[in-house]
């Protein structure tokens, strides 16, 4: 693949800007080790011009969060006509929107914790607050309140009683116009990363289990700081549970229409069931991120991972061109 020009898209205005910069720094090193020419682009209002001027053969999208992971940048890349890494527009939209993800899962009978979703408009203009007691009764306490579209754990709150719910909703609405209230499922946190192989088949990588010292919660800080979270990869699970988790992850990946790679986060509940929480269309690629760890456990080095993502981007573009 020598002489390929790669536009590395990073940063941007999202709240996950710093995580993206850390992902991109690693990717840049890998691309250079692979002998590719890298044009680094910190995404801003000049993105389209920069892409056109870059004369890039392919774009590596190392963006996380709003704008970069929700289909927006992917749409622009389609228009500019540059092949890009990772999922397409529709899959990005489905993954970024946890509510949409969960509706699709429910429709296909894939397990996900019970939930209700509301927009700010519902509360402001349609009196949705009156529905809260019924929701609380249905979901029980504690319940989890999340912004519908926020890739990291920012804005996720636990409400232990009805009195906590308004405050938790306010927090979640700080990140998005829509929030979801979800049944809290106690159990082990598993992340199943997926990567398409050279033949274009999606393969689940070894399961990672994440454990923080905190009682409830895998929070933003722990997720991105070395030494704050204990990861086990492969997770210490009975083989049939591992197989079920991987199968569920593959089903979720296909359902959402992902391409090349993704990560599916799930809970192994105390009753032994697996419940999908969400999927990441552009999983973190930082030094503490889960997908690179899982790839590593499967014998796929970071450089090989990056190389494959570039190859898959080119292959999709070639297939479309044919």
């Amino acid at each position: 693949m020598s002489a390929l020009r790669v536009a590395l898209l990073k940063g941007g205005p999202s709240l996950e800007r710093q995580v993206s910069l850390r992902s991109a720094a690693r990717v840049e090193d890998a691309l250079e080790r692979l002998g590719l020419e890298v044009i680094s682009i910190d995404v801003d209002t000049t993105l389209v011009e920069q892409l056109r001027e870059s004369d890039a053969d392919v774009a590596f999208v190392a963006l996380h969060g709003r704008g970069g992971e929700d289909g927006t940048v992917q749409e622009l890349l389609e228009i500019v006509g540059i092949p890009y890494t990772g999922s397409g527009v529709l899959a990005c939209m489905r993954c970024m929107d946890k509510v949409l993800t969960k509706h699709l899962l429910t429709r296909e009978d894939l397990p996900t914790p019970d939930f209700f979703a509301f927009s700010e408009v519902a509360f402001r203009e349609f009196g949705a607050a009156k529905a809260l007691p019924a929701i609380e009764e249905r979901l029980g306490f504690p319940l989890v309140v999340k912004p519908a579209a926020q890739g990291s754990a920012l804005g996720i709150k636990f409400a232990g009683s009805p009195a906590d719910v308004p405050e938790a909703l306010i927090a979640a609405f700080s990140y998005d116009e829509r929030v979801l209230l979800e049944r809290y499922v106690k159990g082990r946190e598993l992340a199943v990363s997926l990567l398409e192989d050279d033949g274009g088949d999606v393969k689940a990588l070894p399961v990672v289990e994440a454990r923080t010292k905190q009682e409830y919660f895998f929070d933003f800080e722990a997720r991105y700081e070395i030494g704050k979270t204990d990861y086990t990869c492969p997770a210490d699970l009975p083989p049939e549970v591992t197989a079920r988790a991987q199968e569920l992850a593959v089903d979720t990946y296909r359902l959402l229409g992902c391409y090349a790679f993704a990560r599916v986060d799930m809970i192994l509940a105390e009753d032994g069931t697996l419940q999908v929480l969400e999927a990441q269309a552009i999983p973190g690629l930082t030094e503490t991120s889960l997908l690179p760890q899982a790839a590593d456990a499967a014998g796929i080095s970071f450089d090989r991972l990056v190389e494959r993502l570039v190859e898959l981007a080119l292959r999709r573009a070639a297939a479309v061109a044919v």
Binding site: Q18, R26, D29, P166, S174, E287
Partner: protein, 464 residues
């Protein structure tokens, strides 16, 4: 081709296993990430603590550095004594005299910024588990220093007169009963960062007495004393104590330039000697070059006029921010009225988490502040924020506070909807409050629901 080594997950684990235990206490990355976004050019940021260095005449700077180049080039480029140059100490003595203190050169050590004083003092005095007492809220930048030496930080509430000395004494008695002796009390008595309040005269006297009675050290951090916009100066703790139990931290950062990284500590001889050994281990000496820059500006007295100009500028910006707060912040909010310094501390209804509010403010309105939790070690301060008024223009202050007020209003109104409490009121009614900064007395607002205020509310409280 890069020769940078590829880092694998295994290696990360290996590094993590090698980290010192004390790094576990080094906190917060989510907020650090958010704060990084506040530096983007389109953001109006009240988050920093920056003096406005754009007012410093480039011609003056050029003349100073030219003189250094012509007259003392070799020594400016050379190592200097660990304690600092005598010329710099003379400048320090002059600044301290302006604050009402006498300092002899042998009491002084020049440091790489005031921050290094906090580090060196903690390094010199604190063993893991030792108690350090500070204000609640405290200077956010001090918290990681205390944490890195594994200090047990105990915070004492403040009101409009600064640290509550009655609570300090209660706390000292309690610690005494537990057989724990605090090593030192860290305080910013004048125009405190982040709260903007000033410790009253009687409390200063009592604090110094307590230090003497209990043989405790006090670290008096005074970056803002000369940035006074009204009223008469109160004596620094060191002036009251004569430099026996009070260690004094000064800095050129706010009165001249944080870029020169020059601060100092005045301390009793035996303490200073240990601090000097610590300084030697840390960085051998403070920059010779920037000490000469400071000497070039401070030795002929020009700095006094510059500080006066800065005070005039900051006073105007403070007033602009107080006016904007009165106009755009809701009646449920309260904030301090600093007589100097760089910061206002605002507290919102307790159902608002200012870390989440910051995300919304950045996302929707391109405006930033420091969430209050950064100034506490115990999870308090979640509904407060620190607002800096020294770096933004008057127009930016007005616009930025309007934007924060807007997101706060949205959260309050949404909370009212969610909790079944009505909080709606015509926005026009609020215009009447401009300039008062106080609770509304318009009878038309009498039926507005008032949310319970936080315990220990600051504005107007006068307990001692």
């Amino acid at each position: 081709v890069t020769d940078r080594h590829q880092t694998t997950s295994h290696e990360i684990e290996r590094y993590a296993g090698l980290f010192a235990k004390r790094t576990r206490q080094m906190r917060s990355s989510a907020m650090r990430d958010l704060m990084a976004i506040t530096a983007r050019p389109e953001v109006i940021s009240f988050a920093g603590g920056l003096p406005d260095t754009s007012t410093f005449p480039a011609s003056t700077f050029s003349a100073i550095t030219t003189t250094i180049a012509n007259e003392s080039c070799a020594s400016a480029l050379q190592y200097g004594p660990t304690g600092g140059f005598e010329e710099t100490k003379r400048c320090v003595a002059e600044v301290m005299a302006a604050e009402g203190m006498r300092a002899d050169p042998e009491d002084l050590l020049i440091t790489t910024g005031g921050q290094q004083v906090i580090d060196l003092v903690t390094k010199t005095l604190v063993d893991p588990g030792d108690v350090v007492i500070c204000e609640a809220p405290t200077y956010p930048g001090a918290v990681p220093v205390f944490s890195s030496y594994e200090a047990d930080v105990v915070q004492i509430e403040m009101d409009a007169d600064g640290m509550r000395i009655d609570l300090l004494e209660e706390t000292l008695d309690r610690l005494d009963g537990e057989g724990r002796l605090p090593k030192f009390i860290y305080t910013v008595p004048t125009f405190q960062n982040p709260a903007g309040v000033t410790m009253s005269g009687p409390r200063r006297k009592r604090l110094v007495e307590i230090a003497r009675e209990r043989e405790l050290l006090v670290l008096e951090d005074n970056p803002y004393g000369l940035l006074r916009y009204e009223g008469e100066p109160l004596p620094p703790l060191r002036a009251l104590d004569g430099g026996v139990y009070v260690l004094y931290l000064g800095t050129f950062s706010k009165i001249f330039s944080p870029g020169v990284r020059l601060g100092w500590v005045a301390a009793p001889g035996p303490v200073l000697a240990k601090i000097e050994l610590g300084k030697q281990a840390t960085d051998l000496c403070t920059s010779s070059l920037t000490q000469q820059v400071v000497d070039g500006f401070f030795s002929d007295g020009r700095w006094r006029g510059y500080v006066q100009e800065q005070c005039t500028l900051y006073r105007r910006r403070r007033d602009a921010m107080l006016d904007a707060l009165a106009e755009f912040f809701p009646a449920e909010a309260e904030w301090t009225q600093p007589g100097g310094g760089l910061f206002i501390w605002a507290t919102l209804p307790e159902f608002i988490d200012t870390e989440d509010l910051l995300a919304k403010a950045l996302r929707e309105e391109n405006v930033a502040f420091v969430p209050g939790a950064a100034a506490f070690v115990d999870g308090r301060g979640g509904s407060s924020m620190r607002l800096n008024f020294s770096i933004a223009s008057d127009d930016e202050i007005l616009e930025g506070i309007r934007r924060i007020g807007k997101v706060v209003d949205e959260q309050i109104s949404l909370y009212g909807t969610l909790s079944g409490r009505s909080t709606t009121r015509p926005a026009s009614m609020r215009r009447d409050q401009r300039g008062t900064g106080a609770a509304p007395d318009d009878p038309g607002l009498a039926d507005v629901v008032h949310f319970p205020r936080r315990a220990g509310e600051r504005r107007g409280a006068q307990g001692s």
